[in-house]
């Protein structure tokens, strides 16, 4: 099962987990989401403790939606987590 999203008219195919991750981040724009919070919303309780899985998925999501684009939407907040935001200054 694949999910399709659009960014600037360009179609991007996402896996269900990538889609769930993007959906969760878009629901909280501008807010720093810790790995644990992402974990709890996107994965079930069995994955508790595997926060590195978040990093791996975020990286894949970035490759798909940010890599071909000059404006990077997904930001890493050092020591805190990730944030989806259009405005870089808003975060850092």
């Amino acid at each position: 099962v694949t999910h399709q999203v659009r960014r600037g008219g360009r179609k991007v195919d996402l896996t269900s987990k990538e889609y769930a991750l993007l959906e969760y981040m878009m629901a909280h724009p501008g807010r720093v989401l810790s790995r644990t919070m992402i974990m709890e919303h996107v994965w079930d309780e069995s994955f508790e403790g595997l926060t590195n899985i978040v990093d791996v998925y975020v990286r894949h999501l970035r490759e798909k939606i940010d890599l071909p684009h000059p404006l990077k939407l997904i930001r890493t907040v050092r020591g805190a987590g990730y944030c989806l935001s259009e405005n870089a200054a808003e975060i850092e």
Binding site: S34, G49, V56
Partner: protein
């Protein structure tokens, strides 16, 4: 059989005393009888010699032929296998009986007449033993003549040897029966000890609710098993107390940790704070998250171990659960360039809690990925063997040293501190795996070769066949 065991020692003691008593009784019977036979033979010879002595008169001595004839007529020593000899005080033989009819001894071999009357036993060169008595003829004329009579002891000794053989045979038979009987009896008496030992060996911290059999055969063993059972009860109570404490403590920690984390998160996201401060607080959020995970794991573990956790029992296909979990985790493996090969050809149904069984697979796969160097490979397989479902996670990782294997399922145990510090985790994953397996009536085993990899094998009871619902449900 152990030569120091109680059975062997008791039997050796038993056999030793039996042999000693038998040997003593046998010896008394044999030697007493022998003495009696020798004495009564000598008595009979004395009587005979005294009667012959009455015949020895000066007139008879003057005519040795007459004397021989008289003795032959009255006593017939040859026919009755006896020895008779009459000699003068100077040692010259007046009369000597001939060879006995059965040839049992040669009269010529008997030593020269003694100087004094008396009783003696002579051994001839062929080993024949003879009782010989010498009596003096009397105080009258011809004073000093000796009459000797003798008889072979051999027939009597033969009877005694027969008696000895019978006694020995009897000894062997009786002691054999007695030892065998004692062995049976002792083993039967000690059976409760073996039962108690066997059961005690199977009791570990995971089945402390079991008790030893309380036999009613003997007071001592009954008391022993009761005392041991009371000890197990006390152990169970203290283990239970320990687990309950852990469950309570971790439960109490959860709420303040949640508050702490949400407070810290709001500081990290507040825009009016300095960026450095927010980054630092962000680091704290992650640390609090790590503590929370440890506490959550401890809470889950202690509830499982205390038997407080409700384990749902639904019928599920372990194979498809494993495949789905591996798919969710494959990115994690790909990140380290590790391939996951999934072998689950047929559905394998078990009764269990899907979330917890998934946790088992997640923990095992996570460990395998963590402890396998880049470029390695993992194999996850689910198969049914006999009455068990086997879920196996094999890796080509660092492996586990043999001396560490007995401890890896213990809480907070780390094989390699240095390596583990680089790897996130508290050392609770395998303890949780083991507890979940135990809660499902299963076991987890590990086989590992350092430098080649490890194999974790989870064995769970297969679900009973259910024709109505062949597709199963997860």
């Amino acid at each position: 059989m152990n030569s120091r065991s109680l059975v062997v020692r008791l039997m050796a003691w038993h056999a030793l005393w039996l042999a000693a008593a038998f040997a003593l009784a046998g010896g008394v019977i044999y030697f007493g009888l022998r003495h009696y036979i020798e004495a009564s033979l000598a008595e009979a010879q004395i009587k005979r010699a005294d009667r012959i002595a009455l015949l020895v008169t000066p007139a008879q001595l003057a005519l040795p032929g007459r004397l021989a004839e008289t003795i032959a007529n009255d006593f017939a020593p040859e026919a009755s296998e006896r020895f008779v000899r009459i000699s003068r005080p100077d040692g010259t033989v007046v009369y000597r009986s001939g060879r006995p009819g059965d040839g049992s001894f040669d009269p010529a071999e008997i030593s020269a007449p003694p100087r004094q009357p008396g009783v003696r036993i002579e051994t001839l060169h062929d080993g024949t033993r003879m009782t010989i008595v010498a009596r003096s003829v009397g105080t009258g004329n011809p004073a000093g003549c000796l009459v000797e009579t003798g008889e072979s002891l051999m027939p009597a000794l033969k009877e005694l040897d027969w008696l000895l053989a019978s006694l020995s045979l009897g000894f062997v038979v009786v002691s054999g029966v007695a030892v065998a009987g004692a062995h049976r009896l002792i083993r039967r008496a000690l059976r409760p000890v073996h039962e108690i030992t066997a059961r005690a060996e199977t009791i570990t911290s995971h089945n402390l609710s079991e008790r030893l059999p309380e036999t009613h055969s003997g007071m001592e063993f009954e008391h022993l098993s009761q005392a041991l059972n009371r000890m197990i009860t006390r152990l169970e109570e203290s283990f239970q107390l320990n687990r309950r404490f852990l469950a309570d403590a971790s439960h109490e920690l959860r709420t303040p940790l949640t508050v702490l984390r949400s407070e810290l998160e709001s500081i990290a996201q507040a825009k009016n704070h300095d960026a450095d401060l927010r980054a630092a607080v962000g680091g704290l959020v992650d640390e609090v998250g790590r503590i929370t995970r440890i506490v959550e794991n401890l809470f889950a573990l202690s509830r499982l171990e205390a038997g407080l956790a409700q384990v749902k029992h639904t019928r599920l296909d372990l194979a498809s659960l494993a495949v789905a979990t591996a798919e969710q985790m494959c990115l994690l493996a790909e990140d380290k360039n590790i391939g996951i090969k999934t072998v689950a050809p047929t559905p394998v149904f078990v009764e269990g809690d899907p979330a917890r069984l998934k946790q088992v697979i997640v923990n095992l796969l996570d460990n395998a990925i963590k402890y396998t160097p880049k470029g390695g490979s993992l194999t996850l397989s689910v198969t049914a063997a006999a009455d068990r479902a086997l879920c196996e996670v094999a890796d080509t990782g660092y492996g586990i040293p043999a001396e560490a294997i007995p401890f890896i399922f213990e809480r907070f145990y780390r094989v390699d501190e240095a390596r583990s510090r680089e790897i996130d985790g508290a050392g609770l994953g395998l303890a949780i795996v083991k507890s979940i397996c135990a809660a499902h009536g299963g076991v987890v085993e590990v086989k590992s070769v350092v430098g080649q990899g490890s194999r974790f094998i989870v064995a769970l009871p297969l679900a009973a066949p259910e024709e109505r619902n062949p597709s199963g449900a997860i």
